[in-house]
């Protein structure tokens, strides 16, 4: 191991933990108004959508089809994550083979 690499790793570790901890730190000091409450309630779904949507778009038509079928299974089997995961990957691969 050499020094610049260790320095980079240490810096990455510090900033990453800082981003994790600061959500808790900020939340503990935040004065929550009813308006902010509405924003905070909407936040979890909005974060998850923002993680998923670009990944689906990047996967093109197979991605869109697989996402649609996965969503159907997920709504039917509310709470199950294993079946939608397998279905999603299977549909993606099948559509890729076809087109």
């Amino acid at each position: 191991m050499h020094e610049p690499a260790l320095l980079a790793i240490a810096g990455m570790a510090a900033v990453t933990y800082a981003t994790r901890a600061s959500g808790l730190w900020v939340g503990n000091r935040l004065k929550v108004t009813p308006r902010l409450e509405g924003v905070l309630d909407a936040l979890p779904g909005a974060i998850l959508v923002s993680l998923v949507a670009p990944a689906v778009a990047r996967a093109g038509i197979p991605g869109l089809v697989a996402a649609g079928v996965t969503a159907l299974f997920a709504v039917r089997l509310r709470g199950n994550i294993v079946v939608p995961m397998i279905v999603g990957v299977a549909v993606l691969l099948s559509v890729r083979l076809v087109i």
């Binding site: 981003t19 924003v39 909005a46 974060i47 959508v49 949507a53 990944a55 697989a66 996965t70 691969l93």
Partner: protein, 243 residues
């Protein structure tokens, strides 16, 4: 969840009942993380291979995975790795990619504020996209147990550290997981978790906004702004709803 959060915010956190933190919670988190772990292992192996190509030793890969523990940030850092190592740009980019964790940590704060601070801050080391998403859905179902985040995070941590190190050691023998569609496994899990958070029509507009802004930002903006911008766009309708 909204009701629970409102209750949690009345008075000081220390006046609220403690957040349960049980062995069952730890086990439940670990079990929930196993299917997600498939994509963690696939991604970890590929990360290890890429890290080998840019000249990281197995020890450096292991150390980075254990201390930094963030797939997307580490992958981008490896893409920037060169001789001499551009330390400041790498750290700055890692910070930018990690900013979404601030929002994630904020959404779990009403629960973790009800643990002793040192323990809460320790739990947050294991906050990743995956452990956060699984915990969020558990809390949304009124099964609040601080152990879920830790159980899920610990399993993903072990899988990430070991798979990235193995990838570094065995190198080019690993095939690209996109040939198996594995990069979509995590996307499918997140879609399944979204189905649990859906609240009928009231979620259509915020989620459509979040999706459009995130896709547009990922397309046109350099860097990793898309999660932040999409998340903020999707929560703005909340301002109006509660006004």
């Amino acid at each position: 969840m909204a009701e629970r959060r409102r209750r949690g915010r009345q008075g000081r956190p220390s006046d609220q009942p403690r957040l349960p933190f049980t062995t069952q919670g730890l086990r439940r988190g670990a079990r929930l993380a196993l299917p997600v772990g498939v994509s963690t292992v696939a991604f970890g192996l590929v990360f290890g291979v890429l890290a080998r190509r840019v000249g990281l030793s197995a020890g450096e890969v292991c150390l980075m995975s254990a201390l930094v523990f963030t797939g997307s940030g580490q992958a981008v850092a490896i893409g920037m790795w060169a001789t001499p190592i551009p330390v400041v740009p790498i750290v700055a980019t890692t910070l930018l990619i990690g900013l979404r964790h601030v929002l994630m940590g904020l959404t779990l704060q009403p629960w973790y504020a009800r643990l002793p601070a040192p323990r809460a801050y320790a739990c947050y080391f294991l906050l990743t996209d995956e452990s956060w998403a699984l915990t969020t859905v558990e809390f949304d179902r009124d099964r609040a147990d601080g152990g879920v985040l830790v159980g899920a995070g610990a399993v993903l941590f072990a899988l990430w550290v070991s798979s990235s190190t193995v990838g570094r050691v065995i190198g080019a023998a690993i095939r690209d997981p996109s040939a198996w569609g594995l990069e979509f496994a995590l996307v499918a899990v997140f879609i399944a978790l979204l189905a649990s958070l859906a609240r009928g029509r009231s979620t259509v507009l915020p989620w459509a906004l979040a999706a459009s802004v995130a896709v547009a930002a990922e397309w046109w903006l350099p860097g990793a702004w898309y999660v932040l911008l999409g998340a903020l766009a999707g929560s703005i309708p909340g301002l109006v709803r509660h006004a």
